[in-house]
Symmetry: C2
Subunit: 128 residues, 2 copies
Amino acid sequence: MSDVSNGPDFAKTPLVPAIAQDHASGVVLMLAYMNEEAYRETLATGRVCYYSRSRKKLWRKGEESGNIQEVREMYYDCDADTLLVKVNQIGGAACHEGFKSCFFRRLENDDLKVVAERVFDPKQVYKK
Amino acid sequence: MSDVSNGPDFAKTPLVPAIAQDHASGVVLMLAYMNEEAYRETLATGRVCYYSRSRKKLWRKGEESGNIQEVREMYYDCDADTLLVKVNQIGGAACHEGFKSCFFRRLENDDLKVVAERVFDPKQVYKK
């Protein structure tokens, strides 16, 4: 196994938040979590793998929808407890609700606005 | 108090990760956390306030360095457990180590590279 002393400190933070950002547009697509296994798989394969806290297992982003995330660059922060992954988002949409970004709702004076248009229809992509 | 039923679900996630992104350049500056009090203060003042997990109190970003973050837009995600705040970063640097972004180290085959230049010298900014 490779040395991760230069990466996130999983001993301190077993589930590290990972921000996925579109490498070309700079749009912040989503935030999910990586455990050390997911992080190592992401480094090894060049495809983003998260750890699903609800399903309690590795979550190979796009395994169901096909909307995988190809790693272009990966950064970690000054506290070694957050990752930033610049990705090529296949399919153009990261959000399971069919939006490019999971951050499609803008807060305005405690109100909200949906500010994006769906890229795909979830019902068509997730057959369940 | 205003209704936050349209915002993050602090009952489910008492400490919501908040991504700060430069509103003009799209650079992801940092990730920190907000509890409900920090979130409400941020909405009310238009200046980003986090909750410091280490100091266990509100952290008005820039209160020591002067490098405050002015809110331009605020979004929350499909799971209502993450915030994205587009900010105007006063002083040009969000990181306490003097870099524009806390994500100044790029991972390359488990190696790392510092890919940014310091904007300020921490020793000059933090008098301690």
